[in-house]
Amino acid sequence: MILLLIARRFLGLLLTLLIVSVLIFVVMDLLPGDPASVMLGTSATPETLAALQRQLGLDQPLAVRYVTWALAALKGDLGTSYTYGVPVAGLVGERLAVTVPLSLLAVALSIIIAIPLGVISAGRRNSLVDYGASVLSQVFIAVPGFWVGLLLVMLFSVTLGWMPAGGFPGWNAGLWPALKALILPAVALALPQAGVLTRVTRTAVLEVMNEDFVRTARSKGLSEKTALWVHAVPNALVPVVTILGLQFTFLIAGAVLVENVFNLPGLGRLAYQALTQRDIIVMQNVILFFSGLVIIMNFLVDLAYLAIDPRLRAGVR
């Protein structure tokens, strides 16, 4: 039964991916400006233009081009960038080496900030600490990540000179210089996430604290601290993990902006550069890549729900 359900969700995932890829392909195709003429400039003769269009497969009907593109993409061939003249797959891979560590660092930071803050404010409900944490999380949610980035640069780079103001030396320059370039962007990316996560953690812990097993733990004579951290918190983490998954869209949106603030050669900056240079094939693939990540993340959240809540396994049939 459970396998059937997972199989159905998986089919749904594939269908969603298919429709999103068609949508992105069609929208990008509607763009004015033919890539071939962008590549050749205005001085090209009609013959060279037609030859290049043929070479790029632009003379084929839309459906044929989609299938060709999709089949190649499945094999890992994402085409060749018009402006860089290199394979898009390589370009994406190169940029992932910045975006993935940046996102992981940001998620880790947001967890380190949010979970203790949320748990402590739930443990001391309606205390001064609780109010302080709630104000802090509201502020974190309200400040735009890219502005936090600017403020961090102002303080740590311009005024104190402790951190680089932007750019990325590459992983070949050594672990520390590369990490150092990612710390401020990760903080900027993490704060809004931490705000949301703190609130969710607080609510989740408060809910679990009312459950019977926590009451049992208390009546066994365990201290309030043990009841909170050992019995309540692990059970409250379920919705926290879910939100972490669902916040993924906002993490990506944030990464596009923050990478632009810090001049980081990541996937978000690549998408933006591709937009300004009208490098359609790069945009197409980067947006598809981001969307695919979001869809897969939502699928995993769904699965996590099924694993955690037996009622759903029986209910959705």
Partner: protein, 272 residues
């Protein structure tokens, strides 16, 4: 009034939001200086030396630009949320009335729209419509439709199971009529709360889009572009970066607090 005083979150949210709307509306008829007037002689002047909040790299008055920016940001976000909320609510109540396969189909459609973050869909839209207010509105509205469709559907499904709705069905009322007389009035509170919260999100997204140059074109002042201009002068003129960011944060904070306060007021079940 006494009720409001006992609800500090609702009250602060209401005050901040009202203040912003007043400033935004005021900017339509009055600003301390023309917001696009350049005075190179007094460029990069700190707050209070020239104007209330200083000047930018063209010598433009930052306070005036912020005021006009408030109008641009609020009006763009309001329009986007209005479009998204209207369409999303219509879809939601329609689906709740028919259920069945349509529900599955629409939910899947929501997943698809959700999969493309608004910044990225705005980039795609911006690429072929050109950047501008319209692009920003559409990109944000498109993302809002599934948000409202889901909230409305969830809330409406609950109302459809109530006894008075069953009674109305039994009396032979058709589903469209029941939706108008029973469903919509009973879910309007939840939609109002959602509008407030999504408005905050829309302001953040609009600021991000203008920061990337996908919002309203210069010389129209927007909070996002003021921040993007400020990036070059972080060392010389930090106030250029401080003020617009604080305006965005204040606007979002105010709307979120208002949303939280309204939720407690209108939707007592959610109180925690």
């Amino acid at each position: 009034m006494r009720y409001l005083l006992r609800r500090p979150i609702l009250l602060s949210g209401l005050l901040i939001t009202t203040f912003l709307f007043v400033v935004a509306l005021l900017s339509l008829v009055w600003t301390p200086l023309p917001p696009t007037k350049m005075q190179i002689v007094s460029k990069l002047k700190p707050p209070l030396s020239v104007g209330l909040l200083g000047t930018d790299h063209f010598g433009r008055d930052i306070a005036s630009m912020l005021m006009v920016g408030a109008w641009n940001s609020l009006s763009t976000s309001l329009l986007a949320v209005a479009i998204g909320a209207t369409l999303g609510t219509l879809v939601g109540v329609f689906v709740a009335a028919v259920r069945g396969f349509t529900e599955t189909l629409v939910m899947r459609g929501c997943d698809i729209i959700f999969a493309v973050p608004p910044i990225l869909s705005a980039m795609m839209l911006g690429a072929f419509m050109g950047p501008g207010r319209f692009t920003a509105i559409i990109a944000i509205a498109v993302f809002m439709v599934p948000v409202f469709a889901r909230v409305t559907l969830g809330a409406a499904n609950q109302i459809w199971t109530r006894d008075y709705v069953t009674a109305a069905i039994g009396m032979g009322r058709n589903r469209a009529k029941i939706t108008i007389t029973h469903i919509l009035p009973n879910i309007s509170n939840q939609i109002i709360v959602q509008v407030t919260i999504q408005l905050g999100l829309a302001i953040l997204t609009e600021a991000g889009l203008s920061f990337l140059g996908l919002g309203m074109p210069p010389p129209t002042p927007t909070w996002g572009r003021m921040l993007s201009d400020a990036q070059t002068y972080l060392g010389q003129a930090p106030w250029m970066a401080l003020m617009p960011g604080m305006a965005i944060a204040l606007a979002v904070l105010g709307l979120n607090m208002l949303g939280d306060g309204l939720r407690d007021l209108l939707d007592p079940r959610d109180q925690s």
